[in-house]
């Protein structure tokens, strides 16, 4: 198992800076997600690790070995592309065997050995017996599995996946997520995958690295990034929070005319951004409540109800999740308690969303 050390990596594309000094340690055997909005540089970083993009500055080490100047062919990475990039004129078996058959004669395994390996990999990706088919005859999910088998065939040091489930529909995505987790547990490859879907990142990864504008905003376990976001960007990007622009004054958090809650100790007075997640809001009776709001919308999901609540005119609606037994109608006034306060000073340096 090989760890990856990324140091001071920068990449310019025709004058625009795609990566701006990235430092990132990927531990041996871990499953790391590169999460960020589009244009954040996550795919560029992945391609840089693979050697598909020459760096403007910085170094990349694979388990202590400097790989910065190594050609793609010599890096021994398994790369899985979003749109599979299968060789469509080859059968599935030929696709998987490709990485072995292009080796110089001296290093190439015997024909029988290659066939055995292809069968083994087809079993691993749960597609036994489809070796003779062409990629055009497979579904999207099947193609993605074949692409992974092809990448694994060369026994890569690290496995890199670029939005591996981006082109698939919701149900297939879910299945493949569980399946990828499985495969990772069985093979133990150091794996990095790119996604813009925060749910996918926290569900699948051991650790998540959140990128924004070519920089790493936070690296941590799913618990870390969800419960202790390092800054306003992370808080806004993960956890499906509603952002309210508030002011901290006299130990109180205020949004417009409304006082929302008592400010936590140590909160800096001045403009701030408050991030509210569904679950952070306790909804109760309006009687005697310090904070009230009006229900402006109700939406049903599988196991709960989502309420859209307006605190005051001019403020964006916030969302709360309640049990199915909660009786509510549009127009009702309810009492609210903020369970967790995710408060970040609003200054342009860290507040960029």
């Amino acid at each position: 198992m090989t760890g990856i050390a990324v140091r001071g990596v920068a990449k310019d594309f025709a004058g625009t800076r795609a990566l701006d000094g990235i430092d990132l340690d990927i531990r041996p055997g871990e499953l790391l997600a590169l999460l960020g909005p589009s244009g954040s540089g996550k795919t560029t970083l992945l391609r840089s690790i693979a050697g598909l993009e020459p760096l403007t500055a910085g170094t990349i080490h694979f388990g202590g070995e400097d790989a910065t100047g190594l050609r793609v062919q010599d890096r021994k990475v398994g790369f899985v592309f979003q749109h599979y990039a299968l060789f469509r004129h080859m059968t599935v078996a030929e696709n998987i065997a490709y990485g072995l058959t292009v080796r110089p004669r001296a290093e190439r395994p015997a024909r029988q050995e290659i066939l055995r390996r292809v069968d083994e990999l087809l079993d691993l990706v749960q597609l036994p017996g489809i070796g003779k088919r062409f990629p055009g005859q497979l579904s999207g999910g099947q193609r993605q599995r074949v692409a992974l088998a092809r990448a694994l065939a060369v026994e890569p040091r690290v496995l890199l996946l670029d939005e591996p489930f981006g082109a698939l529909d919701a149900q297939v995505r879910k299945d493949l997520r569980r399946w990828l987790r499985d495969i990772h547990q069985r093979t133990g490859h150091t794996t990095v995958f790119v996604t813009h879907d925060q749910e996918e990142a926290v569900e699948l990864a051991d650790r998540v690295a959140i990128l924004n504008r070519g920089r790493v905003e936070q690296v941590g376990s799913p618990d870390d990034v969800l419960d202790h976001p390092a800054n306003a960007f992370v808080a806004g990007f993960v956890g499906q929070a509603v952002r309210l622009d508030v002011t901290v004054e006299d130990g109180q958090v205020r949004a417009g005319p409304q006082t929302l809650a008592t400010a936590p100790p140590g909160a800096r007075p001045g403009p701030a951004a408050l991030f509210l997640r569904n679950r952070d809001l306790a909804v109760g009776s309006a009687e005697g409540a310090a904070l009230t709001g009006t229900i402006t919308g109700i939406a049903r999901s599988a196991a709960s109800r989502r309420l859209e609540i307006r605190l005051a005119e001019g403020l964006p609606p916030i969302e709360a999740e309640v049990g199915l037994d909660f009786a509510a109608a549009r127009g009702d006034v309810v009492g609210l308690t903020l369970a967790t306060l995710r408060l970040f000073p609003r200054d342009p340096e860290v507040g960029g969303t």
């Binding site: 299968l86 060789f87 469509r88 004129h89 990485g99 292009v102 055009g136 065939a153």
Partner: protein
């Protein structure tokens, strides 16, 4: 109502469809093809049939006709082959690289389409003749004459067939996913292996199409060839020229006989190429 009593004619009955127009377009296509292609060809065969099959055979196997047919088909095949290679290289350069003057080169590729073929023939003859500036160099270096020999015919056929391969390969090459090449590289394949095993196979159907078009065009070419060929019977005389010669002698049966033989050989060659193509399309799928 006949459709009801004759189930075998089921397909003739219009089926309700969200996108109507099959009947109209089929009717139009068939009448158009008939007027432009089928009727003239049928007349050709009909005129030739006046000679009878044995008469046709007699004309086709006259030594002079045979020599001309061989010259035409062999040289056309060779020229199409050369065009397949060079057309591929030109298409590659035009799609893969941005360099100053690229639009100019791109436009130049179509010139053989636009130029009156006689003009091309005269220009080529002047340049490749023993005293022309390419011809004189080649002759000084190798002692080979180009213009007024079969080599001259070959040069002319390469010239007029060039755009076909370029224009059929170019769009396919443009659509070729760069990720496929990157995938090949991450799997350890060198550049040459990627080109030979990943890119070329994907281009085979397009190259074949371009080859077939260049070949067909070369077989029928007349204007540019006669100026550079020298037109010596048994050496550098092409079949279309022989047809003109027959016509000038008012030997219409002879002319149509040669034409019919050419038509059958061309048709057979194109049919074979098409079969190879449809095989390769099946093989390479349509993802």
């Amino acid at each position: 109502m006949t459709a009801l009593t004759l189930p075998s004619r089921e397909w003739l009955r219009p089926k309700p469809s969200a996108l109507p127009g099959f009947g109209l377009t089929l009717g139009f296509a068939l009448s158009y093809l008939a007027l432009i292609v089928l009727i003239p060809l049928a007349v050709l065969v009909w005129r030739a049939s006046g000679l009878g099959l044995s008469g046709l055979w007699a004309v086709a196997t006259t030594p002079r006709v045979r020599a001309a047919l061989e010259t035409s088909f062999y040289l056309s095949f060779a020229a199409a082959l050369v065009n397949a290679v060079f057309g591929l290289v030109i298409a590659w350069i035009l799609t893969r690289y941005r360099f100053p003057g690229r639009p100019l080169v791109d436009a130049m590729v179509d010139l053989p389409f636009a130029l009156p073929t006689a003009v091309a023939g005269i220009a080529l003859a002047a340049i490749y003749a023993s005293n022309g500036w390419v011809g004189s160099i080649v002759e000084a270096l190798t002692g080979l004459k180009i213009a007024f020999t079969p080599r001259g015919i070959f040069v002319a056929l390469v010239f007029i067939g060039l755009p076909f391969v370029v224009r059929t390969v170019q769009p396919v090459l443009m659509d070729l996913d760069r990720e496929v090449e990157e995938a090949s590289a991450t799997l350890g394949a060198g550049r040459l292996q990627t080109v030979l095993r990943v890119i070329l196979p994907a281009l085979v159907p397009a190259i074949l199409t371009g080859f077939a078009l260049a070949f067909a065009r070369a077989v029928g070419e007349y204007g540019s060839v006669i100026f550079i060929a020298g037109n010596m019977p048994f050496i550098s005389e092409i079949a279309p020229l022989l047809i003109i010669v027959q016509l000038e002698e008012f030997n219409y049966a002879g002319a149509t006989a040669i034409a019919t033989v050419m038509l059958s050989i061309s048709f057979l060659s194109l049919l074979v190429i098409n079969l190879i193509q449809s095989w390769s399309r099946r093989r390479f799928g349509d993802v």
